[in-house]
Amino acid sequence: MSEFVKPKHQRLVLVLIAVVALIGAGLLAAWALRSQASYFYLPADIAADPPAPDRAVRLGGMVEGGSIKTAADGVTIQFVVGDGKARVPVSFKGIAPDLFQEGSGVVAEGKLGADGTFIADNLLAKHDEKYVPREMKDMTEAQARAAVAETQ
């Protein structure tokens, strides 16, 4: 019977395996979350303390009037996101959401390029009359009101 763990130890061994694995998973998750979670920035935050170039972040603000330009390929757009304090140029290749327009709020997911242009992989706009991206609500009240009013 030597291959069996001693009777009173078996439960202990199993509990230990489970605890070690779960704590390991927890520590690993904590470490990964610190390095991989994508933080939310307003244009003013980017101006004050820009994120590292390879770090995925989200940028929220208002699309400045007259700033949307389509590149020659017909699918890349460039625009400026502002919050009244700072302005960040954004470049996005893809199909913009339907309610994406000048003067309205937007959340761009992507990375800040080395030249200061924000390269967005995805744009979130308010996508129906009930749903506003959470971050838009947390902009200053006046901005949020303006954003909502503009997109209605």
């Binding site: 390991g24 998973a25 690993l28 979350l33 991989q36 979670a37 389509t70 893809g94 959470r134």
Partner: protein
């Protein structure tokens, strides 16, 4: 009238649940034993009442009774009938009523058919079920009344979210809910067993069909939800690690672990306390999922019901149920005697490994899903996406899949890896060769791992059948083989999709052509079209695979008017070796049209694999139920003979 009838039925059901809880608890005491006899009938009647209440709401939606607030808010007289009916559960209140109905019906079913367990355990189980139900009745009646009247009646309804107007999605929530709520029965069985200290094979056999059944529905719900997100959102992806997707994945992970540990308990009378614990965790994850979805607390494409009050209500229910169950577990776990022993290298050992790794994966997903909430409490806004979830879950899933290949070959109780070394050499070699081949082609790490594991597992999953006469193989074994094979198939689809998808984003004029992978695609025309409650711009594409004959694809950009909203309807062309996926974007200023096109080799295997996994569960369930029935009939015959002899 119908609304009042539905509400009355709901109140009555809640009252019966309270009575059921009381009678169940008193029935456990020496003096209240007679009271225990009304518990089963109460559970049955309660189930019938919840069904009537739900049917009442369905009739209201069918008639589009605009004097009922819920109908006015979520339906519209011009909606197709299917979506009128699906509107019953396509909103917060209705979906909670669905939840309560499924729970009530599950309770009646248990009360009617489950006769294996000692009566005190059954009483404790049904009392537990009543306790959990009561919380949800309170939730419905006090904060989410589906039958609330609107005075005066609305002139017209506001319509159903167009994203939800899709046949697949009409059945997606009920499927998931049946899975979620089925786990409440497993939870109640665990509570019952803890209260009466009857944790053993009989308990495991009673619980197993519920775990299997819930797991099948959860699997199907996840597969359907993933396919819906894939073709409806038009983003070309099939899993976004969205909080709501995670909300369905977490109970599935817990149920998968439970499914395996309950088999150990039933077959070998081992892993007793662990199985009970998982029973508690699995339903807790269902509740966490409901909390995440229903409170709309996390940013999500699904978050259309944002209401902090409801969120706090579900959170309170969650804390009471989980806290209570864990406290009971803490008090009683020490008195659950240890089960049969086993060596670490054995079937049990492999299943322990599987359980631990599944739980760790669950932990990774749970932490990633809740982290934004924690961070927000500390004043930072973050979101967590694939860069976290993909590698972190792979850390645990990869070794788990390796064990999945070997575990079924091991014997119960005690075995050695040396004995099975010649069996695993073929899949192992195949795995290494596949991995090396794709790695040399420069494929990224995770897809290489996926392909290699898939190749190994396709063979390894069939090995348990080796040397057996296929006709004599029992259904549960077929179930395991089919489910594990399905995992390999789905994994291959995922790896192919992430390694070999080609994407093109272009702006074209009518008559122009673009190439995507092996496809040549012409933009033939763009025309306006109209549907029952929408208008759309529709592109007609003519696509040729490798110079073959042309097929037509018609992606649309739709505008709904109730409620006003734009959606894009992607167009798919499915071949045996993959899917062509087309989305129509906007018109650029110079008159060109944006088109987004993907060629996704073998992507459909992801969902075929998922369906195979569910089918495996179904085979196992049928096998178990059939043998339970046989045993039941045999016991009945013996009892009958004895009673005749006695006469």
């Amino acid at each position: 009238m119908i609304a009042e009838f539905g509400l009355a039925a709901l109140w009555l059901a809640a009252a019966l649940a309270a009575l059921q809880l009381l009678a169940g608890v008193l029935g456990l005491t020496a003096r209240g034993a007679e009271l225990g006899q009304i518990v089963r009938p109460l559970a049955v009647v309660q189930g019938v009442l919840t069904l009537l209440s739900f049917l009442a709401l369905m009739v209201l939606f069918w008639q589009t009774d605009l004097s009922v607030k819920l109908v006015a808010m979520n339906s519209h007289s011009a909606k197709p009938l299917l979506y009128k009916l699906a509107g019953t559960w396509g909103n917060h209140e209705g979906s909670m009523l669905l939840w309560v109905m499924v729970m009530g019906l599950a309770g009646s079913f248990v009360a009617l058919v489950e006769r294996r367990l000692p009566e005190p355990t059954m009483l404790a189980t049904l009392a537990g079920q009543a306790f959990v139900s009561l919380g949800f009745y309170a939730f419905l009646l006090f904060s989410s009344n589906p039958f609330e009247r609107l005075n005066p009646a609305a002139p017209e309804g506001q319509g159903l979210n167009p994203l939800l107007q899709d046949p697949g999605l009409a059945f997606h929530p009920p499927t998931l809910y049946i899975g979620y709520v089925g786990l409440s029965v497993a939870f109640s069985f665990a509570i019952g067993a803890l209260v009466t200290r009857e944790v053993g094979p009989a308990f495991a056999r009673a619980m197993r069909p519920w775990v299997l059944g819930s797991w099948i529905f959860l699997t199907l719900g996840i597969v359907a939800g993933s396919y819906w997100a894939y073709y409806e959102l038009g983003w070309g992806g099939w899993w976004f690690w969205d909080p709501v997707e995670n909300a369905s994945l977490m109970p599935w992970l817990a149920a998968t672990a439970l499914l395996h540990s309950v088999s150990v308990l039933a077959a070998r009378n081992a892993l007793r306390a662990w199985t009970v614990m998982l029973g508690v965790v699995a339903f807790s994850m269902s509740m966490v999922g409901t909390f995440l979805v229903r409170s709309g607390i996390l940013t999500s494409v699904h978050a259309f019901a944002v209401d902090p009050e409801r969120g706090s209500f579900i959170l309170a229910l969650l804390l009471i149920n989980i806290g209570g169950a864990l406290a009971l577990f803490g008090l009683r776990a020490g008195t659950v005697t240890e089960g049969e022993r086993f060596a670490l290298t054995s079937r049990e050992g492999a299943l322990v490994f599987n359980n631990v790794l599944l739980s760790a994966t669950l932990g990774i997903v749970l932490l990633g899903t809740l982290y934004p909430l924690l961070a927000e409490a500390l004043g930072a806004q973050v979101s967590v996406g694939p860069p976290y979830f993909n590698p972190m879950s792979a850390v645990f899933v990869v070794p788990m899949l390796v064990v999945m290949g070997i575990g079924p070959l091991l014997r119960w109780r005690r075995d050695s890896l040396a004995r099975v070394r010649w069996s695993v050499i073929v899949p192992l070699a195949l795995m290494l060769l596949t991995g090396a081949a794709f790695a040399l082609k420069g494929v990224a790490v995770l897809p290489v791992l996926g392909m290699a594991l898939a190749a190994g597992l396709v063979v390894a999953s069939l090995l348990p059948l080796r040397g057996r006469k296929l006709r004599q193989v029992k259904l549960p074994l077929w179930g395991m083989v089919v489910a594990h094979f399905g995992v390999a198939v789905a994994l291959f689809g995922m790896a192919c999709d992430s390694a070999y998808t080609t994407e093109k984003l272009v702006a074209l004029r009518e008559g122009e052509t673009v190439a995507v992978g092996p496809w040549q695609i012409d933009l033939v025309a763009i025309e306006p079209v109209a549907g029952p409650n929408w208008t759309a711009l529709q592109a007609t594409l003519s696509a040729r695979y490798d110079g073959g004959s042309a097929v037509k694809l018609q992606p649309q950009a739709r505008s709904f008017w109730t409620p006003p909203q734009q959606t894009s309807e992607s167009a798919l062309e499915t071949r045996w070796n993959g899917q062509l996926y087309a989305v129509l974007g906007e018109r650029a200023e110079d008159g060109r049209w944006q088109l987004r096109l993907w060629w996704k080799p073998f992507v459909t295997l992801i969902w075929y694999g998922g369906v195979l996994i569910a089918l495996g569960g179904l085979l196992a369930l049928l096998g178990r139920v059939a043998s339970d029935l046989r045993r039941f009939i045999a016991r009945d015959k013996i009892a009958y003979r004895k009673s005749r002899q006695g006469r």
